[in-house]
């Protein structure tokens, strides 16, 4: 390469590091800046960055190779990431993929010769209710058909300017989405599809009225009030939020942190996307209240890379809150109450939805979960007490202080107060976002969304569980069916085993690889499932899967590995017929799966001759 090019990269790296004060904890931001400018962070750039930051190249390589959106090979100036999720597949994604490959003359993971396009598959991008969908760089394109896919590529060839893509593509290509999606700062095709606004999140709310009420109370009173409301974390695990705030508030510390988990990565979940679009002020308000209660001055919103199209909008809402005095110094006139929020972009790693992995990522490390204890409330971000709450949880908190704990408590059920936002997709007439009170049954939901001939419902996404028709009277709530918010509907024509297999692939790809059971065990489960799908399994294979699943559940280090066997185990439990139909007992002690012809094929190839015994037409 000419010396000038190298020179430019050196300068670029220095400039990027300078922009973040050579602060190694901001490595995610630096890598993003380099990835965008260079379309790939090769070894030479990694070395330059390492040198500039006083670290090792292998550390940078560890980062680049961990996050799916970073790469050491150049991607196109327009990187097309087609969402490869089960729901998208059922909506025709495979045909879209073929069309794109044809139209671009590219295979997957390839970049065109002129460097303009590259094509990738990517896990759920949070648009299951308008699938099939893709991202062109950060710009979402929804409701694809083969014609639309072709039209898109032609349009992009005429307008290959990545910078103006969001502003020009959408208007030219199709009309804008509803609500704030039409705001110039978002300017997106994405639709909200809020089918059922409920009493908490999508109700009338005077902006920052909850915060105003909260400022009349002491931090201890705030924590008590929130605990009284019964609010539990909306991410799925359901830890009482008041207790979490209390734990973070307690340890003596110079600094504490609040992190909003906006890394909505569970396939089939997209309700936080809608909250971030329509209710960003409610989230900011909830964060300020939490900061007041916990006693922290800095907050972070960890935004998944797939939602980068919302970045300018969110920055704008933060700026507006600052201008109104709801962020910054002496908030609401309370001397000594200073708090501000920055946005941290993720880079494509499902495991970062796990709170300690998310903290690692914010610290500029590989998104690997940390060992617990210590828990983040004691030692989290940069070693300080840290509270990590989900978008919906924080938005609920703002509403609780506006309307009172008793009001919230009266909604929902005994152990699950309030409402729940559900992202509903799959085989139904009205997919979208529904705000329901806890306690609603699956049957009621199916009627609401217009689902017919439903064969199975996946509650909570692949880390949740599959249930069948005999369980549709079960209710959403921590007493019965907890969920982070995904409800995926499969009608009776869908092949559940294929779905299960697909989710195993998802977990294999998204495992951080830190611990043995999850890194290796998921692969072994998949291999045995393939045998089942081929119809060559025997009864002992079912025991094998149960056994392996039990070891993953017993020994994995974080939630990903603990829940990775769920699709297999919950279908085995609730749909035993599917499995028994495919399993044959071994005949005459012979393994049913042993395919002599397949085994011979390799030997034939090596020996360059055929078998006298097994090839009937064999002649010398």
């Amino acid at each position: 390469m000419p010396a000038a090019a190298t020179q430019t990269t050196t300068e670029l790296v220095a400039q990027v590091c300078g922009r973040f004060g050579h602060d190694r904890t901001r490595l995610m931001d630096m890598l993003w800046a380099l990835q965008k400018a260079l379309r790939g962070i090769d070894k030479a750039t990694q070395a330059l960055l390492a040198q500039e930051l006083g670290t090792r190249r292998v550390v940078i390589e560890g980062m680049v190779s961990f996050y799916a959106f970073f790469t050491d090979r150049p991607t196109g100036r327009l990187a097309i990431r087609l969402c490869d999720d089960v729901i998208d597949r059922h909506a025709g994604m495979e045909e879209i993929s073929r069309t794109l490959q044809q139209e671009l003359g590219l295979g997957l993971e390839q970049t065109s010769a002129d460097g303009l396009f590259s094509l990738h598959h990517t896990p759920c991008i949070g648009l299951s209710d308008q699938a099939p969908a893709l991202l062109v760089n950060e710009v979402p394109v929804t409701r694809l058909t083969p014609e639309r896919a072709r039209e898109l590529i032609r349009w992009l060839r005429r307008n290959p300017d990545p910078a103006g893509l969001a502003q020009t593509l959408v208007g030219d290509f199709a009309p804008l989405g509803d609500g704030c999606n039409a705001d110039p700062l978002i300017h997106s095709l994405v639709e909200n599809q809020i089918r059922l606004p409920g009493p908490v999140l999508f109700a009338e709310h005077r902006p920052f009225s909850g915060l105003q009420a909260a400022l009349q109370q002491s931090p201890a009173q705030l924590i008590a009030e929130l605990s009284r409301s019964g609010l539990r974390g909306r991410g799925g695990a359901g830890f009482p939020t008041g207790r979490k705030w209390d734990f973070t508030h307690r340890p003596p510390a110079e600094r504490r942190y609040l992190i909003c988990n906006a890394d909505e990565g569970e396939p089939g979940t997209f309700k936080d996307r809608v909250l971030l679009t329509e209710k960003p002020d409610l989230l900011i308000e909830g964060m300020v209240i939490a900061a007041r209660a916990i006693g922290c001055a800095e907050g972070i919103i960890y935004l998944r890379a797939e939602y980068e199209y919302l970045l300018a909008w969110l920055e704008n809402r933060l700026a507006a809150a600052r201008a109104a005095g709801w962020l910054g110094q002496a908030i609401g006139g309370v001397q000594g109450f200073d708090f501000d929020i920055r946005i941290q972009m993720g880079a494509g790693a499902y495991v970062c939805g796990e709170e300690s992995a998310l903290i690692s990522s914010c610290e500029g490390l590989r998104g690997e979960p940390k060992n617990r204890p210590p828990f983040p409330a004691e030692r989290g971000y940069l070693g300080c007490p840290t509270c990590v709450d989900n978008v919906e949880t924080l938005a609920c908190a703002a509403r609780i202080f506006a309307e009172g704990a008793d009001w919230f408590r009266a909604l929902g059920t005994e152990q699950s107060s309030g409402s729940k936002l559900l992202s509903i997709s799959g085989d139904c007439a009205r997919p979208g976002v529904y705000e329901v009170e806890f306690g609603v049954s699956i049957a009621e939901l199916l009627a609401l969304v217009g689902a017919e001939q439903t064969g199975a419902v996946l509650v909570g996404g692949p880390s949740g569980q599959f249930i069948g028709a005999d369980q549709f009277e079960r209710r959403i709530g921590f007493e019965d069916l907890p969920t982070g918010g995904a409800l995926l509907i499969f009608n009776q024509s869908r092949n559940l085993l294929q779905v299960v297999n697909h989710y195993l692939d998802f977990f294999i790809d998204e495992s951080c690889g830190y611990c043995t059971p999850c890194r290796v065990g998921t692969v072994f489960m998949k291999k045995r499932m393939e045998k089942l799908v081929k119809g060559s399994a025997e009864p002992s294979d079912l025991d094998y899967l149960k056994n392996l699943g039990a070891t993953l559940r017993a020994s994995s280090r974080c939630g990903l590995g603990l829940t990775a066997p769920n699709p297999v185990l919950s279908t085995m439990e609730h749909f035993p017929m599917i499995y028994s139909a495919l399993v044959k007992p071994p005949k005459d002690g012979q393994h049913a799966y042993f395919d002599i012809q397949a085994a011979l094929e390799e030997s034939r190839h090596l020996a360059k001759r055929r078998s006298m015994i097994y090839d009937v037409d064999y002649e010398n």
């Binding site: 190779s65 961990f66 590989r366 060992n371 294999i508 790809d509 065990g521 072994f524 392996l548």
Partner: protein, 240 residues
């Protein structure tokens, strides 16, 4: 501030000090909990999960789980040993292990752990048979990644003790592997004086010292005479 307290491990009373992990306390009492990624002198990592125990009925890794007063810990139960065997088998099948021709045989902790846990025959797991390179560029040291079990000991030893940070993890999921801070080991500051390259630091035969493989004949090696963990268990008989 040496506060001591007690908990039970498989019914035996163990005395622990504040800040100790379950494994450290057990080691002190002469009770061996199987392990692969942990080794004395390095920060515990908690990645192999072979040290999984049950604490008050919940699974945890003994190497990273702090000991707690009054805790009821189970280790040598049929259920837990079953999970341990599964994990050790996974590690065998994830890499390429041919003990009979491996120069680490007899010194290898993975092999010794298999024996200790009673794994004597092929398992039902598939062989992944990865294609992994070797690095023989360094004059004294050789890396055969086929046997790496991703325990991260070399990473911690090199970064925390030797202060060189020659290794780190790269990739994720099943593709997670050891990366080095150069294209080849010969281009790093690796030296036989490093703790990282000392015998026994790498639990398997991935980090090898050249020209020494069979200096100790098979049959007289570390785990040929007694099972892995015997050194710790011996402490139990010795008077305190």
């Amino acid at each position: 501030m040496n506060q001591t307290f007690e908990f039970t491990l498989d019914g035996r009373v163990i005395r622990a000090e504040r800040g100790q992990s379950i494994m450290q306390a057990a080691d002190g009492a002469g009770v061996y909990i199987p392990r692969l990624c942990d080794v004395e002198g390095l920060e515990p990592e908690g990645s192999c999960r072979v040290c999984t125990v049950k604490v008050n009925g919940r699974f945890a890794a003994a190497c990273t789980q702090p000991a707690e007063a009054g805790a009821v810990v189970e280790s040598e139960t049929a259920e837990i040993n079953h999970h341990r065997r599964m994990l050790v088998q996974m590690l065998f099948h994830e890499g390429n292990h041919l003990c009979p021709i491996c120069e680490a045989s007899g010194n290898c902790e993975l092999q010794a752990m298999a024996y200790r846990l009673g794994i004597h025959q092929p398992t039902r797991f598939p062989y992944l048979q990865p294609v992994r390179p070797m690095d023989a560029s360094h004059p004294d040291i050789m890396l055969d990644y086929n046997r790496c079990i991703r325990c991260g000991r070399c990473i911690r030893a090199s970064a925390d003790v030797d202060g060189k940070h020659i290794f780190d993890f790269v990739g994720r999921g099943i593709n997670k592997q050891i990366g080095i801070d150069a294209d080849y080991l010969a281009e790093t500051a690796a030296s036989l004086d490093d703790l990282t390259f000392s015998p026994g630091l790498c639990p398997v035969g991935c980090i090898l010292r050249k020209g020494q493989g069979f200096a100790t004949p098979i049959g007289q090696r570390r785990f040929d005479q007694e099972p892995i963990g015997s050194d710790i268990e011996r402490k139990r008989e010795e008077p305190a």
